[in-house]
Symmetry: C2
DNA sequence: GCAGAATATGACTGACCGGTCATATGACCG
DNA sequence: CGGTCATATGACCGGTCAGTCATATTCTGC
């Protein structure tokens, strides 16, 4: 979608531009994100920007697509180990992966979540895809688990997938707030150290436990 | 916070203005909501608006406060019957009340949820209040329930309150989407409200059941 | 060194924004 | 009637925006 000129750019310059652009659209909604401010921060002329992208919308959709790809990659790296250890292990991995993404790449995470609640005048397929990225995973997970007998047979599968999706999307923010973390980007390849902390892990297990056995008083007697 | 002039306005005119204003801020984020567009829609002169409110921010905070009061009223009406029937009945009532508000007053709901994910340059106490309105209820509910023995004593109460809050905030949207989708399967002509109500009720009970007993396979044997 | 293509530049345009203000309208009162 | 005060009005201001374009610079192959 960007022009050939943009793709021809020396990589450091291109990288720098993308970084600044992500920051701009992570910190502002589409309408109030400013190309003028962006090019000033990136240190290029306004005219140059319009040699890279035809307009603001094109840049935005490009960034969304980029963030989406990044998130899928990130989640896939987590997904490897799971799935054959049973539903709740896989669920643990799913929740952890999503939270880790939010903590490790908060700008991309914010960019995506802005897109979901978006004002933007054009609703693109990409947005729908983003919206359902986690939902799809959750639905598949639930479906397999019911077939395997890990879950109650009387469970409303769609409802269960909804619950998981919502928690997956929100748990990262909750964790950050509760552990009082600051939103700085983590170099790729490293996990955010906080997730390996005992407190974070305990919360993950608590959440999984809650989902598996419920919060009712009777449940603990059998767990 | 509005001027005396605004309060002196004949009620139909004031009501109409408020309605248009709510619509404007429900459909746009703070920055891209436009006073010019607002006054055009409301059929008043720009100068008149600035006789009613000192500036955009004041109108916005006034609308938030109004929406918040409306929501509290709405939730209170639901709260009456609950609380002495045990935790899960109260939880049912809480979830239902929140969902009902979203469905009954979607513009106010959107206004509030925009405020939560807000870009707005000034973070006011009101915003924090909104943010924690449901959370407070959930926390109190959990605290009482643990003391009463309705909930597992080993439960992380803060985590449980988080789960409830998130579900309360999101379930309305899910319900609307799901009931509407299933409604389309019904042949045109009649859309029996009893059926959708029944379906909605079933989903509420399913959700409560899930929270009480969990989604694990073992849970059903004892439930 | 040179032509021609690719790229960089920032002043400029037209539109819209929040907010102001001089002026107009109308209501109430003597 | 006239005077005073609350209210209504929209042209206007300075600022920012997305997007354009004529011009300047840099790169490429010969």
């Amino acid at each position: 979608m960007p022009t050939q000129t943009f793709l021809n750019l020396p990589e450091p310059k291109r990288r720098r531009f993308i970084e600044v652009a992500i920051e701009e659209f992570a910190n502002h909604h589409y309408r109030s994100a400013s190309i003028s401010r962006l090019v000033a921060k990136a240190g290029i002329a306004k005219g140059s920007f319009y040699q890279y992208f035809h307009n603001k919308k094109e840049l935005y959709l490009y960034l969304i697509e980029l963030a989406l790809r990044e998130k899928l990659d990130f989640l896939s790296r987590y997904q490897q180990q799971a799935s054959h250890k049973g539903f709740f292990a896989a669920l643990h991995s799913l929740l952890q992966a999503n939270a880790a993404f939010d903590l490790a790449l908060p700008r991309l995470s914010r960019l995506i979540s802005r897109a979901l609640s978006g004002d933007l005048p054009y609703k693109h397929e990409i947005i729908r895809r983003v919206k359902e990225m986690v939902l799809q995973r959750a639905q598949n997970l639930v479906k397999e688990a019911v077939a395997r007998g890990d879950l109650r047979p009387d469970l409303d599968q769609d409802l269960a997938a909804f619950v998981i999706t919502v928690l997956a999307n929100e748990f990262g923010g909750y964790l950050a707030q509760r552990l009082q973390l600051e939103g700085h980007d983590v170099p790729p390849g490293q996990n955010p150290p906080e997730l390996t902390q005992e407190k974070g892990q305990r919360l993950f297990h608590q959440l999984i436990d809650l989902l598996q056995y419920g919060m009712g008083a009777r449940a603990v007697a059998q767990g």
